[in-house]
Symmetry: C2
Subunit: 274 residues, 2 copies
DNA sequence: TCAAAAGTGTTGAGTCTACACCCATGT
DNA sequence: ACATGGGTGTAGACTCAACACTTTTGA
């Protein structure tokens, strides 16, 4: 097409006002304390990676890993790059979370962020943070109280609590609006809540829970992951029956844990015909 | 914070290379033919709004409504504006669909699009297109054939067929890749497929189907909407029982069709305690 | 020996599907 | 009258939560 070629030669995209684009990543993992009893499973907690900002804006506040999307990478690639930079590990389960584009979400100017959720399996030993930045895992919990969500992030003595109000605009878009002041940078508490609610919903139907574990795992480990995320206990006998359609036996046996060894399973790849 | 203020004064966001941001909107409605029998329900079809591009790039190709996000509006607001411009009506059910950020998706340069799905209730009489643009409703259907999705869009004699391959990258992001040449502009066939699969999944669990109908409707109408989208028939007796938790009676009665009048229902607002 | 977890079996409640059947209407 | 959609009832299949019970290990 000759005329299209000519059009493109005359077209300069730089000549229009436009926003900047960043990506932010909510990285989850499950951490455990050292065991107190030799037999008992150590307590495990769902955690999110945050970074203490070394530079303005929001200097010294904690924020999600993230940054500007480069000209030569897609948005998901940028998210993977950010996650790898902060943990040293390529995350699994990159899931799209949403756009965050409030007009004053960033004091530097008009910046639109595309947020992703991803998961680090607990056998990868991630190095939280680079030399340049101070990073840390925060235990996350969310509870609902008269229509508001209360998000709590906790790392040792550092505790952030944010109240967020669910909002449906006239077109049916749902978003979450902070009540009160920032304890996290930007609108990151909204991003984290959005991401967490997505994660919890998927985990209830056995989605994303496999990504927290190594390729081979016991059903009890898998059940524990689901329970930690959804905050709902289930009966082992029932869990193993419901999950059976998603897993298959490896033939290997776990051992060395003060009790009867368990069959190791792997995730079932395809939807096999029944 | 004095130092933050100073930082921001020295910060010029314009000095960085950055992509442009657009939004594209997949607008659905359900259309019906004129009735052939006085009694029988007219046949209904799910349709998507497309616009024939008047300008380069992709001049004379059909594309989704969309455009650049302005500096003074959020991304969802831009989507609502675009939808209103092309239909004259404010759409309901704006749902986030995804980011599309392939490096060469737009010949004008690096452009990232955030796509939305929205729905026009069939009682609004939308005026497809503005004076400036040629717009039209295309019947949409998707079928699966040995692992590929086949998307068909049809308006009178105009028929577009696109084959798309499901792709999971190593991080678990799923996307759909066109096989063969473009019959639609940009990567819009991928956006439409992504949107449609989301719509169908939600419709199966009674999501989004209400937005195709006026505020008061009969259960048969609602059932028809679900059947059109999911392409699965259900038994009326069972449908009405399953849907009962999402609706409530209005007390009004429909009439004037060649058969027994039906109770009109509305969407139930809250999750009432049982 | 025994605490802890692995794993199987069973029962009763509830849900879902398919089908049979009657109702009300406008032409 | 009758085709068409509105609406209720129900038997059998299936699913699921809860609980009882046996097995196997390492210290």
């Amino acid at each position: 097409m000759e005329s299209e070629k000519k059009f493109l030669e005359g077209y300069n995209i730089e000549s229009y006002d436009r926003p900047s684009v960043t990506t932010d990543v909510v990285i989850y993992t499950i951490r455990q304390d050292d065991s107190d009893s030799f037999r008992k499973d150590p307590e495990k907690r769902l955690s999110v990676l945050l970074i203490e900002r070394a530079e303005h804006p929001f200097k010294n506040k904690w924020a999600l890993p993230g940054g500007f999307v480069r000209m030569d990478e897609t948005v998901p690639d940028a998210a993977i790059r950010e996650a790898k930079e902060e943990t040293g590990v390529k995350p699994s389960a990159l899931v799209y979370t949403g756009v965050f584009s409030g007009l004053s979400r960033d004091p530097r100017g008009r910046i639109i962020s595309n947020a992703f959720t991803c998961i680090l399996s607990n056998n990868e030993k991630a190095t939280a943070g680079t030399d340049a930045s101070n990073a840390g895992w925060f235990d996350i919990s969310v509870r609902e109280e008269d229509g508001q969500y209360i998000l709590t992030l906790k790392k040792d003595e550092l505790i952030f609590t944010e109240r967020l109000q669910k909002n449906q605009d006239t077109s049916g878009m749902t978003s979450y609006i902070k009540c009160g002041d920032n304890s996290l940078a930007f609108d990151h508490s909204e991003i984290i809540l959005t991401s967490f609610l997505q994660l919890r919903e998927k985990a209830e139907s056995f989605g994303l829970i496999f990504d927290f574990l190594p390729p081979e795992f016991t059903l009890a480990e898998l059940q524990r992951v689901q329970e930690i995320i959804t905050d709902k206990a289930s009966v082992p006998a029932n869990f193993r029956r419901k999950v059976s359609e998603y897993v298959e036996e490896t033939g290997n046996i776990s051992g060395g844990a003060g009790h009867r060894p368990a069959m190791l399973y792997r995730r079932r790849v395809k939807e096999d015909v029944k």
